[in-house]
Every structure is written in C-alpha cells, then in structure tokens.
Subunit: 349 residues, 3 copies
Amino acid sequence: MDMTFDIAATLVAQLQKPTLAFLIGGMMLAALGSKLEVPAPVYKFIVLVLLLKVGLGAGISVREADLVALAVPAIAAALVGVVIVLLGSRTLARTKGVTPMDGMATTGLFGAVSASTLAAGMVMLDAEGIAYEGFIGALYPFMDIAALVTAILLARMCAARAMPATPAGGGTAVMAMGGGENANLVREILTDTLKSPAISALVLGLALGLLGRPEQVYASFYEPLFRGLLSIMMLIMGMEAWLRLGEMRKVAHAYVAYGIAAPFVHGALGFGAGMIAHHLTGFSGGGVVLLAVMAASSSDISGPPTLRAALPEANPGAYVGTSTGIGTPVAILSIPVWIALADWLIGFQ
Amino acid sequence: MDMTFDIAATLVAQLQKPTLAFLIGGMMLAALGSKLEVPAPVYKFIVLVLLLKVGLGAGISVREADLVALAVPAIAAALVGVVIVLLGSRTLARTKGVTPMDGMATTGLFGAVSASTLAAGMVMLDAEGIAYEGFIGALYPFMDIAALVTAILLARMCAARAMPATPAGGGTAVMAMGGGENANLVREILTDTLKSPAISALVLGLALGLLGRPEQVYASFYEPLFRGLLSIMMLIMGMEAWLRLGEMRKVAHAYVAYGIAAPFVHGALGFGAGMIAHHLTGFSGGGVVLLAVMAASSSDISGPPTLRAALPEANPGAYVGTSTGIGTPVAILSIPVWIALADWLIGFQ
Amino acid sequence: MDMTFDIAATLVAQLQKPTLAFLIGGMMLAALGSKLEVPAPVYKFIVLVLLLKVGLGAGISVREADLVALAVPAIAAALVGVVIVLLGSRTLARTKGVTPMDGMATTGLFGAVSASTLAAGMVMLDAEGIAYEGFIGALYPFMDIAALVTAILLARMCAARAMPATPAGGGTAVMAMGGGENANLVREILTDTLKSPAISALVLGLALGLLGRPEQVYASFYEPLFRGLLSIMMLIMGMEAWLRLGEMRKVAHAYVAYGIAAPFVHGALGFGAGMIAHHLTGFSGGGVVLLAVMAASSSDISGPPTLRAALPEANPGAYVGTSTGIGTPVAILSIPVWIALADWLIGFQ
C-alpha cells in the first residue's frame, strides 16, 4: 500500500521533470498538429553529442573501474538481451496474424537498448542524487548486440525452415547451408552494428575516454550540453511517438499489447539480473535501476537501420511503430517504477 | 536638448553592443558580397532554442506572477495589435499604387511581433541592469494573433467588397457570406498561428515553464546559449535585411516611407499603452520599453508563413521586404529611443 | 639526445589530448568503415562558430595591442606565405608527371593556413599554460592571402607562357596581356578570398572584436563552445583524412613526398621568421610556435573553393588530397615538434 503510494508519488513528480515534461510536450504538439520540426541534420548532431558524451563518461569511468566488478553486470546484460528475444519468439512471434519475420524484428528491437531512454534514466537518478557505476554506459553494447544478433539469427533460421522444398535440397541441406550462413551472418551483423552511427559514436567515446585524456572537454562541453540537448531530443521523440501511434492503428492489436507489457516484463528481468549482480558483487542500487531501464527500453536509434538491412522482409511499420510509438514512451514512464522498487528493496540514503 | 543628447549617446553606445554590432556586421557582409551563410537547418534550430527559452522563462515567471498584474498589459498588447492594423488600413493600404491586399498584409506583419527584436530588447535591458516583468514573453501571442487576425479579416472583407457583381448576389449576399466565412476564417487563422513552428515553440515553452519544473535545464542550457545564438541570428537577419533592401527598390516608395515611420509610430502607441498600464498597475519601466519594442517590431518568423497561407494573393516581396528589409532594422535601431524615453519619463535607478 | 627524448615524450603526451585523440579516433572510424557522419549544415555552423571565435578573440586583443609589435610578425607572415609558394614552384611544380597547374594549386594550399590546425595549436599551448600574443589570429589572413595570390598568379603566368603561339601575338603580347590580366587577377583573387565563408567569418569576428564590445558574448558562448566544437571538427577531419588517403594512391608519389616533407620545411621557415621577430620585437615563444604551425599547416576550409574557382584546370583530387589527406595530419602531428623546439631555444617557464 505504502509502496504503491510511493511509486505513484514518484511517478507524478517525474512527470514535471524536464525529461518527461518535454516528451509529453512533444506528444501534445503532434496531437495539436503543430508544424514545429527539428531538422534532420540537427537531430543527427544531437544524437552524436549525446552518444559521445555517454561513451566518454563510460570510458573515463572504466579506466579507473574494477574490471571484475564490470564483468558480472556485462554478462548479465548480454544474457538479459538473449532471454528477451527468446521470450518474444515464443509469444509475439507465434501470435496469430503476426508474421514470424515481423515478430522477431519487433522483439529484437525490444531486446536492444535505447541510448536516450538510458540517458533519461541517468538524468532522473542524477536529479535524485542516486549514485550508479560510471561504467553503466559500457554495458549498453553487450545487451544491444546480443539481442539483435539473436533476433536476426532466429528470424533467418525461421525463414529457412519455412521454405518448404528448394529446387534440389531437403531439410538437411537447408540446415547445413543455414549453419554456414549463420556464421557469416553473425559476423556481418556484428560488423553492421559496430559500423552504425549510434554504436560508432558510443564505442568511439568509450575508446577516447579509455585511451585518451578528454576530461577537460568532457567537463566544459559534453556534460553541460547533455541535459539541454536531451530535452530537445525528448521533444522530437514525443512528436514521433504520437505520429507512430496513429500508424499502429492499422497493425494487429498484438503489437499494442506487446508494446505495453514488454517494457515491464523486460524491465523486471533486467531488475532481477541486476539484483543477482548486487548480491554477487555489490552492484549499486542505481546500477540495478539502469539495468532494468536498459532491458525495458527498445532501440530507437541504432536498431532500426540494422534490422532494415538484415531483415528487409520485415515491415518497419510494425517494429518501428511498436518500439518508438509504444515501447519507448512506456519504458520512459516505467523508469520511476524501477527507482521506487530499488528504493524499497535496497534503499537509497 | 539634454534628452536629445542622452538618446544620441545611448544610441551610439548600443551600436557597439553585440546585438546591433552583429546586425550591422551581417549587413556589411551582404553589402561586400560575402558567401558566408548559416545553413537553414541550423537557423531553424537556433529559432527553436531562442523561442523555447523565451517561452520557458515566461512560463516560469507567470507561475509565480500576479495574474491581475498580467491581465492589464495583456489587454493593452492585444489592443495595440488591433489599432496598428486599423491605422495601416487607413494609411498604407489606401496609398495610390499599393494594392489593398499587399497593404493589409504589410500592416499585419507590422502589427505582429518579432520574437528576435523582442529578445534584442531584453538583452539590451539586461545589459543595462534594467528590470522588467518576467511575464513579458507571455504578452507576445496576444499582440501577434490580434494583429494577424485583424489584418487577414480586413483584407478578406476588402476582397469580397471589391468583387463587383457575383453571378446572382448583391452587396447583402456578400456581407452575409462574409459573416459566415469570417467566423471560419478567425478559427482557421487562430489554429494556423498556433500550429506555426514559432508560436508552437513559444507556447510549448510557456506550458512547460508553467506546468513543469524546467528550472535546472533552463539555467544550464537555454539561458547560457541564448545570448550567443542570438548574436548569430542577428548576423543572419543583417544579411537578409541588406538583400531585401535591394528587392525593395522595385516596389513603391510608399513601402519605404511606411517601413521607416511605422516602427516609431507603433512603438509610441505601445509606449503609451505601457504608460497607462504603468499608472494603473505599476507595470515596470522595463516592461513599458518592451511593450513599445513589441509594437515597433514587425514579424519576421511567425508572420510571413501565416500570411502566405491566408492571403496567397498578396506579394511577399512587398510585405516581407518592407518588414525584414526596413521595419526590423529600424525597430532594432529604435530600441535605445524607448529606453532613453522611459529613463526620462519614469527613471531607472 | 635529451632534446630528442623531450620531443618524443611531448609527442606521446599530445596523442592522448583531445585534439589529436579525436583526429586519430576519426581516422580509426573511417578505417573501420563506420557510417558515422556529421551532417554538412552542422559542419558549416561549427566552422562559423570556430572562425568567429578566433576572429573575435584576435580583434579584442588587437584593440589593446601594440600596433608596432603586430607589424613585424604580420610582414613576416606574408613573406613566409610567398616564400613557401616560390619554393613549391621550384620543387613540386617541376617534378616529372606533375602538371604545373596541379603543382601550383597544391603548393598554394600548403602556403595558405588551416584555421583548425592553428586552433589545434592554440588549444595545445593553452593546455600547457604557454602564453602567446592575442593578435595571432590576425596574422592568418596575411599569410593566407599572400600564398594564394602568389600561387594563382604563378599558375596563370605559367599557363600563359605554355600557350606557344596565339593567333596573332608573340611572347611580348602575352606578357603585356599578362600584365593587364595580373592586376585584374590580383584584385579578383583578393576579393574572392575576402568573400569566402571562412575568411568572411574571420574578418567579421576581427572587425566586431575591434570596433564592437563583444566581450560578454565571447566569454559566455564562443569561448566555452570552442574546445568542444573543435573536438567534433577534429573527428570529421580525421575521417576525411583517411578517405583522402585512399584517393591519393592513384596520384603521383611526388604528392605523397611533398605532403610529408612540406609541413616540416614550411614550419621551419615560419619558425625561423618567428625567431627573427622574437629577437627584433620580443615576439613570444608561443607566438613563434604558432607562426610555425601556420606555415606548416595547409588550408582545408578557405583555400580549396578559392583555388577551384581561380584555377578550374587543376585537379582537386591532387591538391585537396595532398593537403587534407597528408599535409593536415602531418602538420597537426608536427605541432609538438615546434613546442619542444621553442622550449629548447627560448624556454617557457
């Protein structure tokens, strides 16, 4: 009862904070038909600065981090990514009316991570004065790549099995080919993910933070701009979310149910994995919250182009609509739940 | 004599300050044929940040403002917008060689408000350490919408009257139709104005400032960037002003005379309305200056697209040229006049 | 021995600093095939802010500078620009397989100055706490224009001489025409250079700093953004440098040798001229380093469009490739050499 009230109170207070206020503001603008727009080149630059900042911050922290402390959450993050996709392949992808290809692409996006949702979670924790490990940004690619690779592999294998009788080859031949292709595919997907602008910026920031000494430019430029640029990005995401919501009306209701339920189920998975790491290695309460946020989030920047390239048969209207239109706002709205839950189970003082 | 000298001294000192210095710099660049340009996407982003900042600041202030104190200047602002357009409909729009449509569009722009000229006035007052009400930004839409709606209504009514004999209807029929159309038109124009990027950003900032708690991101991002981005916007406006000046040579001299005289006449109207509010509710001297600046200014961001959509028959070369090429630089150059006048009549200490 | 060690130690430490770390990071990204990109409009804006900042800072300093102290380095800078091009016209432009037109265009770019390399040098000196004259930015156009004008004049004269027998005129006629054309050409090239976006922004900043009072907006906007925007520009230049490196494989090896050797030879020329100014007028050690950096640098922003317009026959693949692909990274890598050399010869305390 007390907990329910606490969560509700936290949620209401969060709505007034810039991150959610700008997201809701963006949705209102789109709902009212505003012609406001953030030009695409500026949007790309904002994403670049945000991801460089997250990477730089992570790299600087990892440079001084306890590598043993990093190892357990990194393994946990990768496992959560795989489990989310396996879960989706048994639920959404098997729902009537949902093509396996579309279902796997959608669950892949939900397993992947949204850097901006993660950033929103960090800003909320910062505002509350809740500490978390600096290497959290370094966990992102583990979950992201694990989920995308698993989803694309399962979708491709599904498609291979679905092809009933190729000119001169039975099931065994397809399987054998599948085996050879899988190895190539895994390599290709890994490469494509690393080459995507989002992951490139993040990994570059990480490398520069690890090997360079960017502390001064980080403190004088990347840090101060981060909060403000994120407020503008939330505005954009709010407007997009509203527009995609309309697009989703044409798609099966299964996507809507998945888009609403998945952030909570996946967030709980991430929270559980974080709790195990908490007991094993003293992973902080703030870190548990952010692992839950990563798991709850669905990719809106790095994922869609990867999936569009790897699974051209899947309908972007389904996976991008479900993720950006439903998954991302629900995931952002779920952040206070993980904060309240961690406060209740571990306690921040 | 003393006053004339004071105004002259203030004017000279203002020329060295960033706002006017960058405007003049931009004009010099254009005059010398420089190929310098600020790309359109960056320009849109600068406008977005500037208007969000003005809106956020206004919203935060209104949240703690005396609503009675706001009411009187808001009514004054709306009335000034209407009176400016009525004045223009009896002078510019009736000048020989000026089509009524072009004349009304021009006077509508001169009644509407330039957020950047207003911002320039605020920066000049800030630099002088002169206080003004924080809700000033909230007065903008009152004057803006009142002027645009009045101008478009009068222009449309003028066009209806000009149609001599419609197939089967006399003056009464046109009047009746006009009545029905006017109600629709007012609604459409109000909607279009609210949907325009400039007004959207301003109203969004206002709403977020009123209902959210954006104080932190306002202080760490929007405030520090404002002055610098405005200097770049002044550069752009200076270059545009010079280019439009050439375009105006082809247009009737009436526009030139109107463009030079109107900022002073309208500014005096706004100043007078502000003085009444000063005596009624203790409206500050800085506020009186800014009401004069709003009235003196002509819209360069939100107005033109509204007019282009609502009055497609009007020639943008005439109204945009007169406003951006003559009205805006004259209005900015008039700011020190209002400051000196308020200092002389009310006194800043 | 000690000196060699010092230079090596300085070089290694510089590699970890943001300027070089981001440049190398950009090269790595391009080498790995990353799809990261900074949109062109944002890039133009970054260049505008960087050059306005350099100009404003220079203007503010010159306003209080000892004009006699400025005169000697300014003459030295212009002379270095001319000597670099004369040197190139006797070496690269006479190499077998290199067309005189391509050779002169390339040596012109190497005589011109890269504002970003100069900025990188300033940031490195700032980080070391080494002082330099504030008017250094004002030396840029002297060397830049002298080099470009000399190169274009020599290339045009070369082309005129190469035309064996014009319809009805011998060598004297061509010479006479050349004389008349040269005067026009010098005027045109001076005008084109001043009109180019880069030089416009720099000269505008210089004028605003000299005649206006932009100290406040300089300190609150241009200064804080400078270091961060430069880090992003270094990223872009690193990516470009890698891509141009591939392009150069198709071009004569002479360009590669010139691109590697020229920054060191030209830097030494600039360093020598700076040392003379040091002994004549007490020009600072930091100033000597920056004169060497200017001489070592090759133009990547202002030069190419000027050359493309003035010498359309020259192949941009040769001159832009050699300059951006080889000259600029080598020049940036050479900065620590000039710092170490100045420390050894003059000493910073």
